[in-house]
Amino acid sequence: MRRCPNRGPEGDEPVKVVVCVKYVPDAQSQRTFSADHTAERASVDGLLSELDEYAVEEALTIAEDAGEGQVIVLTMGPEEAATAIKKSLQMGAHEGVHINDEAIAGSDSIATSLVLAAAVGKLGEDEPVDLVLTGLASTDAVMSVVPAMLAERLGLPQVTFASELTVQDGAVTIRRDGDVASETIRASLPAVVSVTDQINEPRYPSFKGIMAAKKKPVQTWSLADLGVDAGQVGLDAAWTRVVSVDEAPPRSQGEIVTDEGQGGRALADFLTARKFA
């Protein structure tokens, strides 16, 4: 069960959650690269990264369970990235922040975490942020490193890959399933938390939610608003450089047999011929 995070001594202040989301090219479409070796975004439909929906859902649940809460959805990207904020607002987030600045294009994870950390800092100026939530990875770059980098930059505890999450008594406790062990991890708030697709079932925006989203506030910030130097972000400032991009040699379709009683034998023969058995 989740309860109010008990921020003050009275323990009944509203919870403030920032959810970082990404606008990505649709994974179902034909994704390609541009001449500058960045992901080509213009020709492909974009959307809220599917894995971020779990973070939005979890933020809404935490706020609902706390009784009173504020969920702010934060994204950085071009004009179209507003789509990701819109979807999150339709799901129920209360307000949006869109960092839109030409200098951002081509930013790597290092620069992304720099900008997001500055934005979280700004959002916490009046009322401190209790939780920064993210998905487990974007569906385009799939690095899964930004949450750890955000924690590093913000100096906050990192509580990542949560498949279960509880917020109680000013602390967050999660279950993290690694490849060899399952761990229970606990940290006091504020903290940076990433959630997996095992944690919940994201809600669909209701008609009411869709209508309500139109009236929700969305702020647009530039790098200057955040006090981030444009020279620190974007493609030219990236600490890595892509030397070449090639289409992977297409996997040519091999032999396909239709089983008419001999399918098992055919499979055994293939494995034997290739020395797998």
């Binding site: 994974a27 179902q28 994704r31 690269f33 070796h37 992901a39 790597d108 290092i110 487990l136 990875a137 569906t139 385009d140 799939v142 899964s144 490193v145 750890a148 590093e152 930059r153 100096g155 906050l156 505890p157 990192q158 509580v159 990542t160 399933d177 490849d179 060899v180 062990a181 399952s182 761990e183 991890i185 940290a187 697709d197 990236a238 600490w239 890595t240 450089r241 892509v242 030397v243 991009v245 090639d246 289409e247 992977a248 996997r251 379709q253 091999g254 032999e255 396909i256 047999v257 239709t258 089983d259 399918g263 098992g264 055919a266 499979l267 055994a268 023969d269 494995l271 034997t272 797998f276």
Partner: protein
């Protein structure tokens, strides 16, 4: 020759295959130094020496393993400052990538995750990785600081290059209060299945929706080949197999010598986790299943008869 730091991937002291692969890759760039969090026993020392570790840095474990990733990143940052290495190699697990991410920020270095190949280049290390669910191959270099690279298991073939007596050094470093903020309060090592670990197995046999929840034939077939067992997201979501066995974008990413997909249609989500497999075989009732577009060998038919028949033929 300058050092290349390799963070040893081990389970309770047993050095994993990924470490041998990283040491092999590290030798192309310089002299491998293994960073071992914990106390390596005789066997672990021998394994590291066998694959060319010239040096072994031992790091006191208690403080480090009771907290999530941050202390390990601090230790590595300390070692980078001390040794000025050519690169730092870390296994591409979720934990490894997070350690790498934090380290990169600490030392002002570029980071490349999920490397499938590394070689020295004129402007630094050339790192090969796959993009967009394996449909592209990209080569990158790191332009700032000491390259921090995470290496995908099963991508580099481990080759022995024995070092007689690696130099050992105890690393003394204080872990900051901040790095201790996220505390591991309980750890449950998964029960050994008796099968190889999914992300380092040479053969993986996975079951999907087509199993209808009965993984019996998939497991029997896997056991006959000495393979690990995987599952598609559909099978995991249906509660038929544990999430820890899920192959795909939101599960484990595998690149074995042989991948067998049984009753799996082959959605983008799944292909992202297995597309770099060397040989792909599929068994599926549906001749139109997209998985057949990328197989080396496929059988259109019922896995419940084909897999047991194949085991029987192979046993003859």
């Amino acid at each position: 020759m300058s050092e290349v730091l390799v963070l040893v991937d081990h389970v309770d002291g047993t050095v994993r295959k990924t470490t041998a692969e990283m040491l092999t890759a590290a030798r192309r760039l310089g002299e491998p130094s293994a960073v071992f969090v914990g106390s390596p026993d005789e066997q672990a020392r021998a394994d590291l020496a066998r694959f060319g570790a010239v040096k072994i840095y031992r790091v006191e474990a208690a403080e480090v393993s009771e907290h999530l990733v941050a202390p390990t990143a601090e230790v590595l940052a300390h070692l980078v400052a001390q040794t000025a290495p050519t690169a730092v190699l870390i296994a591409s697990s979720s934990e490894g990538k997070e350690i790498a991410g934090r380290l990169a920020i600490k030392i002002g270095s570029g980071l490349v995750t999920d490397a499938v190949d590394l070689e020295p280049g004129q402007d630094g290390v050339l790192v090969t990785k796959a993009a967009f669910a394996g449909s592209y191959v990209t080569v990158c270099t790191v332009t700032s600081g000491v390259p921090v690279l995470t290496v995908k298991p099963n991508s580099v073939t481990a080759q022995e290059a024995a070092v007689e007596e690696p130099v050992e050094e105890q690393v003394e470093t204080d872990i900051s209060t901040q790095a201790r903020a996220a505390q591991v309060i309980q750890r449950e090592t998964r029960k050994a299945s008796g099968r190889p670990a999914l992300n380092e197995a040479a053969i993986v046999v996975s079951g999907g929706r087509g199993t209808g929840g009965d993984f019996g034939p998939v497991e029997a077939f896997a056991d006959h080949l000495g393979a690990a067992v995987g599952a598609s997201r559909a099978a995991v979501d249906a509660g038929w197999y544990p999430h820890s066995n899920q192959v795909g974008q939101t599960g484990v990413s595998v690149s074995p010598q042989l991948y067998v997909a049984a009753g799996i249609s082959g959605a983008v989500q799944h292909r992202a986790g297995m597309q770099t497999s060397k040989t792909v075989v599929a068994v599926n009732k549906d001749a139109e299943a997209p998985i057949f577009d990328m197989v080396d060998f496929g059988v259109v038919g019922d896995l419940f008869t084909i897999l047991p028949d194949a085991v029987e033929k192979l046993s003859e």
